[in-house]
């Protein structure tokens, strides 16, 4: 889940750094990380050499595009939603503030699996109905074009993978909102005051002064949540969206090769998350070095 840090902290020994005694090196060496890499390599080796596994892999691999696309689109939408909600959370407007708070607390209080069902099967139809009646209402005022555009939305016509993306975005939007809020609040009051004192509006101060600093501070956290999103995208399989998890389930169900299916599936997730975590971490190091 997004609330727990998911990224992997590895203190890869730095060569040419400060001298460490041999015993210190032996003690501090990240054995678990080496083991992780070995497991991944071993699994990859099996998948590539054993016929059954390779077959499973080739089958499951068909879902990778959906997994990646779903994660990327949902994450981008969640970033936008999270930023807006985070801004609303700190705004002085009581209405915005409470709406944002309500949204965040609703999402945090419901298990993600339930949310996926709820948003895809209850939330989206309700939203479609809302848009339809808004369209009718607009039509009655003579806004024919906009009105019929809205009434033409049809619940049945919205495919499951779109619903899945909406569900993940709405869920992660709430998590990311809290990250953005914390990031904005970590910037001292003096920055806003200095910006306002030269005549910038609140929006200009946010855009040019507060957000650039806040976002920079939360980039590692955002990166971690992307990794978490890749993992949680497996939940969309409950909507029969053909991501790698769903495809693996289908494969296992039809061939009864559960071991091949789930070893391969796990290896694929592990590879993605380890690689992404390392990228996030090296990025974080680079940021810190430039401070």
């Amino acid at each position: 889940m997004a609330d727990q840090p998911t990224h992997i902290e590895v203190d890869v020994p730095e060569f040419g750094g400060e001298e460490k005694s041999a015993s210190e090196r032996i003690r501090e060496f990240p054995y678990w990380f080496a083991a992780l890499i070995l497991i991944a390599i071993y699994a990859a080796y099996i998948i590539l050499t054993k016929e059954n596994y390779r077959e499973a892999f080739e089958f499951i691999y068909r879902g990778i595009q959906i997994t990646i696309r779903t994660s990327l689109i949902a994450y981008s939408l969640a970033l936008l939603l999270g930023l807006l909600t985070g801004l609303a959370r700190i705004s002085k407007s009581i209405i915005l503030n409470n709406i944002a708070r309500l949204y965040v607390e609703l999402i945090r209080g419901i298990p993600m699996l339930v949310l996926i069902f709820f948003i895809a099967l209850v939330g989206v139809p309700a939203a479609v109905e809302g848009l339809n009646s808004l369209g009718l209402w607009l039509k009655s005022f003579g806004a024919e074009k906009v009105g019929s555009f809205l009434t033409e939305f049809n619940n049945q016509g919205i495919p499951m993978n779109v619903r899945a993306i909406v569900a993940l975005s709405v869920t992660y939007g709430a998590f990311l909102a809290e990250i953005f809020r914390a990031g904005i609040q970590s910037i001292g009051r003096g920055q806003m005051e200095a910006a306002r004192s030269v005549g910038m509006s609140y929006a200009q101060a946010m855009r040019y002064i507060i957000l650039p600093q806040a976002i920079r501070n939360v980039l590692p956290a955002l990166g971690n949540d992307f990794v978490a999103m890749v993992k949680d995208s497996s939940l969309v399989s409950v909507l029969a969206v053909r991501d790698i998890t769903q495809v693996a389930r289908l494969y296992a169900g039809s061939t009864f090769r559960f071991r091949e299916a789930y070893v391969t599936l796990s290896t694929m997730y592990l590879t993605m998350t380890v690689v992404l975590s390392l990228l996030v971490q090296s990025f974080e190091r680079r940021l810190r070095r430039h401070e």
């Binding site: 001292g188 003096g190 920055q191 005051e193 200095a194 910006a195 306002r196 004192s197 030269v198 005549g199 910038m200 509006s201 609140y202 200009q204 040019y208 002064i209 650039p212 600093q213 920079r216 401070e291």
Partner: protein, 248 residues
Amino acid sequence: MNNREDIIAVNDLHKHFGSVRALNGVSLSVERGKVIVIIGPSGSGKSTLLRCVNHLETPSSGEVWIDGELLTTNQKQLNKVRAEIGMVFQLFNLFPHLTALENVVLAQKVVRQRSKEEAEEVAMRQLVRVGIPEKADVYPGQLSGGQQQRVAIARALAMDPKIMLFDEPTSALDPEMIKEVLDVMLDLAKEGMTMLVVSHEMGFARAAADEIIFMDEGLIVEHTTPHDLFNNPQEERTKLFLSQILQH
């Protein structure tokens, strides 16, 4: 006593923070080109007064007139008025993600809508004026306190303000850097800038101030010339305060 021709006129200003009464009815008017130094014990409301002048704090009651215009809570008006009032903070408040030059350029571009070239030219001129053009491309984190404060002054001056507010601009500085900042402020005073300065630098007050104000408990206790205040304070509280700060 207020004359609305004055560049700053403050009328019976009150400011409460919950139960804390930071200002208890302050009236003050400042003529164009005058330098006013404000002194007073900690918590006496000096910063609050300054921050009410450009409405960084909204007064609980009372009026602030800037150059004949009564300030309201209208954000458009406030943004416009604030662009004409430079403010220098105790902790500099430079924008750490921007270079010194960018710090001075930004508001010129987004508030004054100046072109990049013009804004940079003005910024360089201001950095020369405060004596650190060579630091233009350096980030605030790499500057000394005195240098940061001079960049902050340049940032305010680049907007061509009619008024400059200084809130203890040297009290966060190491002693050896105080003079470089005060020298810039002295130059500004000589050039005829209207300045409202909260500072306990008595040397500066003697050299540059036209008037000096002693505040205590959210009120102006004395408002006179530096010469009179130092040589002939009228109130007991003023005498006590002066004896405390002049010892150092």
